[in-house]
Amino acid sequence: MKVSGSYLITVAQQRAYELLQDPVVLGKAMPGCDTLERVGEHEYRMKMKMVMASISGLFDGKVRIADLQPHSSFRLIVEGSGKIGFMKGDGLLHLIPAEGGTNVQYEGNVEVGGTIAAVGQRLLDTTARMMIKRFFEKLSAEAAVSATSSPAAKI
């Protein structure tokens, strides 16, 4: 399934770029994310809870960041699997300075398999959209928090 869209974060480009690669921030912003720990350069281990349709389950996964073009773009690769199946996401994020902050444009692919595919496929589209929206909302909130705590990062 292809996903694409954009979201305005109310911080400057460089700060947005840093936030989007900060494991603490990512861990807080990713819906259902239990833990996110760094295991290598731009590579993290993640445990998250996935809820879709009538099924839910824990996912063990990996988050990787690649193709870094500071501070304008990078690729986010998420893979997870658990008893309800597996999911793979691969997205390219572009950060474009905009009025009031930074416009994050994303496009990518989400693939699911196993029970999630068999049972939840119909809801995958809306679930993915919802999760992406929540992600950016939380990220914005984190940005606001960090903005208050660190005045230097303000626009």
């Binding site: 398999g113 595919a117 049972v119």
Partner: protein, 776 residues
């Protein structure tokens, strides 16, 4: 000795209520999951979430650590167990080795990778989640045409073209037919993948008794004896030490005409742990791991003259086989080819089948097994031809039917149709719907902008499968009749009924032949230690073959009863009337019970006669039977929503003589329900990466009771000369006749918009789009 008046009433032909129903509808029947054995363990299968992947590592340790878990087995443990068998032989067929647990690679979503055994079902399920399998994903292909395209991912790396077999059949001179033709119509027609969805999923209990070196295996199957033979082979154990018992089976429709990995797996586990073990398939597993049906892409060409005379037919059939070959997988499309002539007299046919591997669930027999696909194609093509020639679809059929005096009619595919009067059911159905006034009504409706359609299908089918040369494992059937010393009658049938009602129909036949009360007859089936070898239940064969075996066993017994009767009356000859042996000269008689008792007491034996009243008969049919019929469907299509509603459903079926009209009606209703399911709603949907998207009943549109139209069912009766009962079979007729009638009806409704063909299922979305395009 008393004179008893004979019992004149016969039961064959009467609407006798099914004797099996009280236990089924009061919850007192024993299904597989009702079985509880002392010390019984439970198994849960770990299955692949990937359609194609290499297994890099399996870590079973976390599962084994869970209290209550007894064992976890993986592919390495079961290497010695023989492969899941494919019994269908075709020249050059490529049969992938089908291990009961994946070895180093998985080929479809749901592929069994490991099995967890625990003391409790819930522990087993929890532990299955703890098995860690490390997969390296590989590219997959889920569509048969894409699988055959150059550069497609290879399902089995050793066969990069994904072709399991090709098969060609030809009859007559098709090239000449197409040369002589004034008109040729062509159409690509699909019969989508369906999920058989029996109400009861599959299940197995295996109980190995090490001391006795013998195994009892309960399985929800249609073929207990074949399962025993094949399973014994897989396990390398003597067949006579394996007992297969079929408890109550809650529907099968062909999906349990198979030997599955889990059957061998449970037997293997029970031998390893020395305890009985149970596995019951979940619905999600059922959708992934029990065979699917259909899965055809057919390219049809029909050659005809301008007056509507059909000259010949060409077919290129692409069969989606799935990743493995189950028991009959490659044989199913060959049945489609056999059925290609339908009810028509043209004698020129050319067919090519390509069996394509895909990373999907294997396809195999599902109600109709190859014949619905063929009939759908033929009956669509005849309508397309009629539309091309602007002929009436009823007239073009009547013009091309095999003539009544042409039977036995030898088809271009080499079959000998046994008997038929093909115009009769069609004319009966046309009269029933008042065809002429329906067409007038349709004209008026069209003037008002309404979309109303009338669809006809005239179907034939191959039943009573089948003569042994035409089947992979013998096509005969067996029956034993035992008259017990008290006069009670026990029938042991080699068939394995699971909804077809033979506990009733076979009791009717027995009661009539012996002249006993139907309540004195008990029909037993589905236990290989009690019942003599049999073939099982599929292909509308129970009554025509199993019933005939029973009939002949009963004749043998009647001869013996009369011998004992004559001895008891001290005469040379008696007649058997209503169970009573009568000496016509004196009028003296002996009752059935007196004869039965005397046969076992054995004080006075007739010459050259052994004590006891038991007869066994194995009957080999000389031919298939060929039922036929006509279905007419009137539909209304909602322009705004694309919704199809079936206003009338008229089914006139000819299944030869009818033993029990109530049971035949049930078969027609059930068959039509599944035909409507295919025509309108059901579809197994795979994503390109081999993920089954319609993996649950919420996503797979099975017909519900409220979606069913009223079915106006009636019959014409053309007895079969193949068997003494004159019966043909009706188990699959409803399904075969249904889908083309529905699609023809909807295409007829949409024809003013320029619609010529629609592939099933006719979902509102699909119809709505066509209406929008037609409007534009």
């Amino acid at each position: 000795m008393a004179t008893i008046t004979s019992k004149p009433e016969t039961l064959v032909g009467k609407r006798i209520r099914r004797r099996e129903d009280p236990r089924l509808i009061t919850g007192t029947a024993t299904y597989l999951d009702d079985l509880k054995l002392p010390g019984m363990h439970h198994a849960c299968v770990v299955r692949s979430p990937h359609a194609a992947a290499r297994i890099k590592n399996i870590n079973v340790k976390p599962a084994l650590e869970l209290p209550g878990v007894v064992a976890v087995f993986t592919g390495a443990d079961v290497k010695e167990v023989g492969p899941v068998p494919c019994a269908a032989g075709l020249p050059g067929l490529r049969v992938p080795h089908h291990h009961i647990l994946a070895q180093d690679r998985v080929y479809l979503v749901g592929h069994p990778v490991a099995v967890v055994v625990a003391t409790d079902r819930y522990i087993a399920a929890d532990a299955a989640d703890l098995v860690e399998v490390d997969y390296q994903e590989l590219p997959a292909v889920a569509d048969p045409e894409k699988a055959l395209a150059p550069g497609a991912p290879a399902v089995h790396p050793q066969w990069p073209d994904n072709v399991a077999f090709t098969f060609h059949q030809e009859g007559g001179d098709t090239a000449k037919a197409f040369q002589d033709a004034e008109v040729v119509v062509k159409q690509r027609i699909t019969s989508q993948r369906l999920i058989p969805t029996a109400m009861e999923t599959r299940g197995v209990v295996a109980d190995w008794k090490a001391g006795e070196k013998s195994m009892t295996l309960w399985s929800s199957t249609q073929v207990p004896h074949l399962l025993r033979t094949l399973l014994a082979g897989m396990l390398g154990m003597p067949e006579n030490r394996l007992r297969v018992i079929t408890p109550e089976v809650g529907g099968a429709f062909g999906s349990k005409l198979n030997v599955y990995a889990e059957e061998a797996l449970m037997a293997f586990i029970s031998m390893r742990i020395g305890k009985p073990v149970k596995w019951v398939e979940s619905r999600r597993e059922n959708f992934l791991c029990t065979i699917h049906g259909r899965g055809h892409v057919d390219y049809f060409e029909l050659a005809a003259m301008r007056d509507g005379t059909i000259l010949g037919m060409k077919l290129k059939l692409i069969q989606d086989l799935g990743a493995f070959l189950q028991l009959l997988t490659p044989a199913i499309p060959t049945l489609s080819v056999l059925m290609m002539p339908g009810l028509y007299k043209f004698k020129n046919i050319s067919a090519d089948i390509v069996g394509a591997f895909t990373n999907c669930t294997p396809t195999d027999a599902y109600r109709g097994a190859g014949r619905p696909e063929a009939t759908h194609g033929i009956e669509r093509m005849v309508d397309i031809l009629a539309a091309e020639l602007k002929m009436d679809p009823a007239q073009i059929r009547l013009k091309n039917f095999v003539d009544n005096d042409a039977f036995p009619f030898v088809t271009a595919t080499g079959l000998a149709y046994d008997s038929g009067n093909y115009a009769l059911p069609l004319n009966t159905a046309l009269a029933e719907v008042d065809y002429a006034s329906l067409r007038r009504e349709q004209q008026q409706a069209r003037q008002q902008g309404k979309l109303m359609g009338v669809g006809i299908s005239a179907y034939g089918e191959i039943c009573a499968i089948g003569p042994s040369p035409a089947t992979p494992a013998g096509g005969w059937e067996s029956a034993t009749v035992k008259i017990e010393p008290s006069g009670k009658v026990t029938v042991l049938t080699g068939t394995s009924p699971h909804g077809q009602g033979e506990e009733t129909t076979f009791a009717q036949i027995t009661a009539d032949e012996l002249g006993v009360d139907i309540d004195d007859v008990l029909v037993i089936h589905g236990d290989t230690s009690i019942v003599q070898y049999g073939i099982g239940t599929f292909g509308s064969r129970n009554t025509a073959i199993g019933g005939t075996a029973l009939y002949y066993a009963l004749q043998e017994l009647k001869t013996k009863i009369k011998k004992f009767g004559a001895v008891l009356l001290d005469v040379d000859e008696v007649t058997l009337v209503g169970g009573v042996c009568v000496d016509e000269k004196s009028g003296r008689s002996v009752s059935f019970n007196q004869v039965a008792a005397a046969a076992y007491r054995a004080l006075k034996l007739p010459p050259n006669t052994e004590p006891g009243l038991v007869a066994t008969h194995f009957w080999e049919p000389p031919n298939f039977t060929f039922p036929f019929g006509a279905h007419i469907v009137v539909t209304d299509v909602d322009r705004e929503t694309g919704q199809v509603s079936v206003r009338r459903y008229v089914a006139v079926d000819d299944c030869g003589k009818i033993i029990n009209p109530l049971i035949v009606a049930g078969q027609v209703h059930g068959g039509v329900a599944q035909g409507l399911g295919q025509a309108l709603w059901e579809q197994a949907v795979y994503a390109d990466n081999g993920q089954l998207l319609s993996g649950e009943l919420t996503d797979y549109a099975l017909p519900r009771a409220h979606m069913m139209p009223w079915i106006e069912s009636s019959h014409t009766i053309t007895p079969s000369p193949v068997n003494p009962l004159g019966v043909k079979g009706v188990g699959e007729a409803g399904t075969i006749g249904c889908s083309p009638a529905v699609v023809n009806s909807v295409v007829d409704a949409l024809s003013p918009l320029g619609v010529r063909h629609i592939d099933m299922p006719l979902t509102p979305e699909k119809i709505w789009k066509l209406i929008q395009e037609g409007r534009a």
